[in-house]
């Protein structure tokens, strides 16, 4: 070391330089730890509160505790007591503890449909005293996925039955609309023929030019007649398609029902079924979208979208 120091100017005070470098690095690392710790709440005062659960299922040490959507603490310990009940300890930041009342309830919920579990603590009644460190709160499990699926089934099945009934009832709105359209077609044909006769008998000396108006009326009658004929041809196919989609929805609901019955206590298995069901639902949504696109193109109550024009716009020899 002495030999190098003597011969090369750059090695003068090498020890001091290295020490400063190491010191700066150590300070940097320390600052990073400090800032990260501060951000993670390592230096924030936390106070314990407790709850008792009938089972430790879905409860994990470290899971966050939320209040009004904000993380205010975490589940720090889970132990089994002499009665076989689960004792949970959560550490909550002291500054938030005063916001929570003694009758607050700790609920185990899911973030999203199949998301991670989270403990959500309610505020409680405002007239009750604030919660103190070491106090015990009531614990409950919020409605799980199974309950959500059962609820959905209970709501969807009656709607499906109603729709099925509406599509197949010969006196229902859909079938009646089709019948009315057929009648309208016949009437429009008569109207057009009548307008044709009127157009043919217009007196050349009529002062107001009613011809263009009559021609426009005639065109409307022709359009309605053509549309009705087209609909008469295409609506049965669309109805069949609607029936098929309804059947798919019914099958899906059966899959859900079956899954609920088979896997009620086993959530992981349930999740697999639900994923499969979601996949099928996506397919059905695709089918339904296709059907809706088709309806939006042909349904008479909407503007019929004409086929896109390709060639040059119209212009004749006298324009």
């Amino acid at each position: 070391m002495a030999l190098l120091t003597d011969k090369d100017e750059r090695f003068k005070n090498l020890f001091v330089k290295a020490a400063i470098f190491i010191l700066l690095a150590a300070i940097g690392v320390g600052l990073v730890f400090l800032l990260t710790g501060e951000k993670k709440g390592a230096f924030t005062e936390k106070l314990p509160i407790y709850f008792v659960a009938d089972s430790g299922q879905d409860l994990n040490e470290g899971m966050p505790v939320k209040f009004s959507g904000f993380k205010i603490g975490k589940l720090s310990a889970l132990t089994l007591d002499e009665q076989g009940l689960v004792q949970g300890q959560v550490n909550i930041e002291a500054k938030y503890l005063k916001l929570i009342r003694q009758d607050a309830v700790m609920s185990l919920k899911k973030e999203g449909v199949i998301g991670d579990g989270v403990l959500e603590i309610s505020q409680g009644e405002k007239d009750k005293p604030a919660l103190v460190a070491g106090a015990k709160v009531r614990f409950e499990r919020a409605s799980g996925l199974e309950q959500a699926v059962v609820d959905m089934k209970d709501r969807v099945l009656p709607i499906l039955d109603d729709l099925h009934q509406a599509l197949h009832d010969p006196n229902g709105d859909v079938r009646q609309t089709l019948k009315n359209l057929r009648e309208l077609s016949a009437e429009m044909r008569g109207t057009r023929e009548h307008i044709d006769r009127v157009l043919g008998s217009v007196d050349a000396n009529i002062n107001n030019e009613a011809g263009p108006l009559l021609r426009s009326l005639r065109q409307s009658a022709v359009n309605a007649e053509a549309l009705s004929a087209r609909l008469d041809h295409e609506l049965p196919a669309l109805l069949n398609k609607a029936d098929a989609s309804m059947e798919s929805l019914r099958l899906t609901s059966e899959v859900i029902k079956d899954a609920v019955q088979r896997s009620a206590p086993q959530l992981p298995g349930m999740l697999g079924e639900v994923r499969e069901t979601l996949g099928k639902t996506r397919e059905i949504i695709g089918d339904t979208q296709e059907m809706l696109d088709s309806l939006s193109t042909h349904w008479p109550l909407k503007n019929v979208v004409p086929a896109p024009e390709k060639g040059p716009v119209r212009m004749d020899s006298h324009d």
Partner: protein
């Protein structure tokens, strides 16, 4: 390492091959959507919006080298400019199709562009230039094309404007008897018949033909031409000494023209 480079190379090649395709499709879809908007605007009489949208379509079609689409849009831009009474711009757009040295545009587009150029030049009384443009369209159309009847009808009209009423009458009469043609062009041919007869002082026959054209134009709802027909009937009736009828026709023509002017002005606002 070799495998890594092979994988990297495959990835780069896939990226090079696939990226332009998606951009191409995107541009084509945008062009189709803009074209639809432009046609809708044109139908509703919003000419300036139609012009703006067609200009956008043109840029998109040029970006994907869609020659057929570009030719159609150039013709559409010319048509809109003509409807905006900016005939010089309209002719400039059509010349972009006609003067293209590389044969990139389809024959049908050349015929249409030449025909529309002839129509516009006829309307502004540049008859010799109109004749050249029409000759070009006749040459390109040869035996049979979709514009054959329109070209024939315009030829008859041009002959009449040049003073050759006999030839115009013969040609227009032949055209008006043809079947399976557009009603508008059939009415145009019949109008040329009526005007040629008026020129040849065959007033009674001219009046009959004007009445027939009027009925056709009324059935087509072409207000501007209804006014023109009524004016023709007023002129011919005057020549026949039917002054009372002539005054009635003239009054009807004035009413129709005023109504058309007001409706056009309202749409442009």
């Amino acid at each position: 390492m070799t495998r890594f480079f092979m994988l990297l190379l495959t990835g780069i090649l896939a990226a090079c091959g696939s990226a332009p395709v998606s951009r191409l499709l995107q541009a084509m879809e945008q062009a189709q959507a803009a074209d639809k908007d432009a046609r809708r605007a044109l139908k509703s009489g919003e000419l300036l919006r139609a012009q703006h949208d067609f200009a956008r379509v043109l840029v998109l079609q040029q970006s994907v080298d869609d020659a057929t689409g570009v030719a159609t849009t150039l013709i559409n831009l010319a048509t809109v400019a003509h409807q905006l009474h900016d005939d010089e711009t309209a002719l400039a757009w059509l010349d972009k199709v006609l003067l293209e040295k590389e044969q990139i545009y389809p024959l049908e587009s050349h015929i249409t562009a030449a025909f529309r150029k002839a129509v516009i030049l006829t309307n502004v009384a540049r008859l010799s230039e109109a004749d050249s443009a029409l000759q070009l369209s006749e040459k390109l159309c040869a035996v049979k094309c979709t514009l054959r009847f329109g070209i024939g009808s315009l030829r008859a009209r041009l002959l009449l404007l040049k003073g050759d009423a006999e030839s115009a009458l013969d040609m227009a009469q032949a055209m008006s008897k043809e079947k399976d043609v557009e009603k508008e062009e059939q009415a145009n041919a019949l109008r040329v018949v009526a005007m040629a007869e008026e020129k040849l002082a065959r007033y009674a026959s001219a009046l009959q033909h004007f009445q027939a054209v009027l009925e056709m134009d009324k059935s087509l709802g072409l207000s501007a031409r209804i006014g023109e027909d009524l004016n023709g009937m007023a002129r011919v009736s005057t020549q026949l000494g039917h002054d009372q009828e002539a005054a009635a026709y003239a009054q009807r023509a004035a009413l129709v023209n005023e109504s058309y002017r007001q409706s056009t002005a309202a749409t442009h606002e």
